[in-house]
Structure formats: C-alpha cells, structure tokens
Symmetry: C3
Subunit: 170 residues, 3 copies
Amino acid sequence: MTDPLAQLARQVQVLQDLEAIKRLKYAYFRCIDTASFAELEGLLHPQLTTCYVGGSYRIEFDNRAAFLEAMANAFNAEVACRHQGHHPEIDVLSEREATGIWYLHDVFLNLRERIRTEGTALYRDRYVKQDGRWLIRHQSYERIYEIVEPIATPPNLTAHYLASHGRRLP
Amino acid sequence: MTDPLAQLARQVQVLQDLEAIKRLKYAYFRCIDTASFAELEGLLHPQLTTCYVGGSYRIEFDNRAAFLEAMANAFNAEVACRHQGHHPEIDVLSEREATGIWYLHDVFLNLRERIRTEGTALYRDRYVKQDGRWLIRHQSYERIYEIVEPIATPPNLTAHYLASHGRRLP
Amino acid sequence: MTDPLAQLARQVQVLQDLEAIKRLKYAYFRCIDTASFAELEGLLHPQLTTCYVGGSYRIEFDNRAAFLEAMANAFNAEVACRHQGHHPEIDVLSEREATGIWYLHDVFLNLRERIRTEGTALYRDRYVKQDGRWLIRHQSYERIYEIVEPIATPPNLTAHYLASHGRRLP
C-alpha cells in the first residue's frame, strides 16, 4: 500500500463505510418506530446478538428471527414511541468489521398498560460487511438513566402511525 | 470514468455532497428556531414545495415566498420551540439532484393560545444543486406520532430567543 | 497544489477532519453525562475557554483544570441528565483550526435541590489540531429557550448511572 492512489482509495473507502454504517443504524431506528419489520430484517445479520440492560429488564437474543418476533410484539398498535440514536463513534476495524457507540434517547408509551418509559443509553454495536453491505451483528446498550412512570391521563394523540401499522395485540 | 483518479474524485465529490446537504438541513432547522428568515431564504429553492401532514393539519406551499411568510408568522415572539432533525438517509442521485429522509423530533409551545404540540415525523426531501450550492427543492413529512395538549401553567421560561427575535403578533 | 492527486488528498483530509471533530464533540457529551472526566481531559486543550450563557447564569472558564473541576461538581451523584448535540456545522479553516456550530438539547435533573432545567442552545466552538489530534479550544453557547421548574415529585429512576459514577456531594 505504498502507492499513493491506493492509499487514498482506502481512506475514501473508510469514509464511505462510516456513512454506510450510520445509515444502517438510522434505518434501524426508522424501521422499529414504524414497525417496518420486513425492511428491518435486511439490516440485521442472521446471527444477530443483542443485550439491552435497562432498569428493570435485561433483554437478550442470539438470532435475528427471535429478535424480530420480539420487536413486532413490543412495537405494537398500542404503543407510541421514539427511538433516536445520536453521537456515532464508529471505528472501522477492517474491510469487513466495525464497532460503534451511539447515545440513545428513547420514549416509550405503552398505552395498554399505561406506562411511560423514558431514558438514555449508550449502545455498543458490532457491524460486519457481507456481499458489499454492512449489517448489524451485535447490539448492546447500558442505561445512563431511565424513568418509568404511570400514564395518569392518556395523551391526546393526534397522529399515531403504529396504531395502523403495528401488530394488533390479542 | 475508467480513469482510477477520476473515479476516486467522483466518490469524494459524493461524500462532499452528503456533508453539504446535511449542513443545509441543519442550517434550515437553526434558522427556523431562531427566526433567521433572511438566512433561511438562501437555503431554499425559489420554487420550493412543501407538504407537512400532521394530526390536525396539512400544510402545503408551492413557492419560497409563501413558505417564508408562513414561517415568520408561525415562529413568532409568543412561541418557544425546538425542531431537530436526526438520522439523515441521503441519496445523491446525480451531480445536481439528491433525496433525503430525516427523523424529526419537534416541540412547539404556542404561548398565546396555550397549546403544546410534540411529535415526530419522517421528512422526505428533494435537493438540487445550483451555482455550486445545494438548495432544498421539496420538503414533506408524515407524522409517526403527535400529541397536542393545553398548557395548563405557563412554563417558567428563563431564556426565550424568539421573544426578542420573532415577529410580534398584532 | 495543481497536482490532481494532492488536491484530492487535501479534500479527503478535510472530510477526515470533519469526522474527527464530530467524534470529538460526541465523546465530549458522552464523557460529561457519564462523569468520565479522565477521558474528557484528553479531549480538551489545556487553555480551554468556555462561556455558557443561560437564563440565570453565565459560566466562564479560562483553563481546562478549572473547567474539569466544575464539571465534576456539576455532574455529581445526585444528578440525572442528558446533553445531546445535534446539527454540526463545521468549518475546517486550515490544517490545524476549525470552528463548529451545534444545536444542543439538554435536560438536567438536580435531585438534591429538586430543580429541573431543560433547554436548547447554539454552541459556537473552536477546535485546534495538535500532535495529530483535534482538541476543543473554545466552547460557548447561547440559549434558544430554557425552562427551569421545581421537581414536585422525585422521578422514578429505574437506572441512574451518575448515582454510582458521579462525585458524592458532602
């Protein structure tokens, strides 16, 4: 790699990888909050592992199918929520491996059980590139803070995408 | 484009375009929340079209002048608000055309009418490059959720930029 | 700089600098909200200057040590907070100097004094590159809005990182 053009090409590839990985995670958040699980599947490695540690839960999965089924139940028609990931700190380790830290802010209104959860967390992810596309291989987060409170009065929802796009609970 | 240097130059140009389009939208949000309409005008194409679909409204414009006038009325001295756009998914289609998806989170306190609106939405934008600068050509959004509630007690605003920089209502 | 390869290399360097400066600020926010002051120190220039103008305060420092000590007191074990910086508008001025605008959204729960502060602000930063690393040289912000209110009922914190990682107050 002493060829200057080849060196520069590698630097450009890393910048393109950073953009691709950011888009991957941005699409991830868009897909969960809109219950777009078919598109979400294409963002995840089949052997996806996850470990979310909240105040009152520890959610672990070791494959994509189980994760997707759990997400479809969680992001159901009686939920209004927002998951936004900020502050990407991505390290491209090689042509096929990368890690990422993200700073999540999420609000989750469980309208059936009348519980509101709001919090922040630091994601620590791993990504792999397969067939030219980056995929999420591992996701974990640890909470910085989390507040869980009852919803005393149902919010006046004037728009509610999941009500018509999320899974209906039995 | 089989010249390796020319190919690399095009890839770098796309990366620069992505940065420029992100900055364009970031400046857009800064300008509306600070009522900086002279600067805002320079970010928008004269034939700007917009279509915002909220819970109780559908806001459509087909030119920049009408849009700017409506914004100056909306972001007036009796409003405190926050519009932040996250998760850019930008596609550079050509040297002069691009599209973008953004995940908005906004809070709008109408202090005169004592109404608080908070919500999220997905923007779907189109951008064009003219005279070397990217401009917003089209903006639309669809809500993921929106909550509209009365402001029972006026908030204790210890700083309020729009009070001194926004248009005074009659 | 009429050599096309050298020109392209400079453009790539600027894109790398933009990424590095974004990461610097993202790490900054992660470090304050997790009271990671040893890591934070490495992000700041020894002659760091800061000027934060809020509704009821004006916080100025003219060196890193004083700033770090104040941060350790502010982000203590009786605080839960979130500081997220969005919308980077970075200008690389030279190989060693850059400026940046950021749109902050912060929530600060002072659990001892039972005060909740939420607001937004525009940062105007200066960065310098030393020994191959970008550092924060100057930070200032001006509020767009700020709301300060008493905490009537303590929040039900189900996770609280600073409680175990922040400085204990006497």
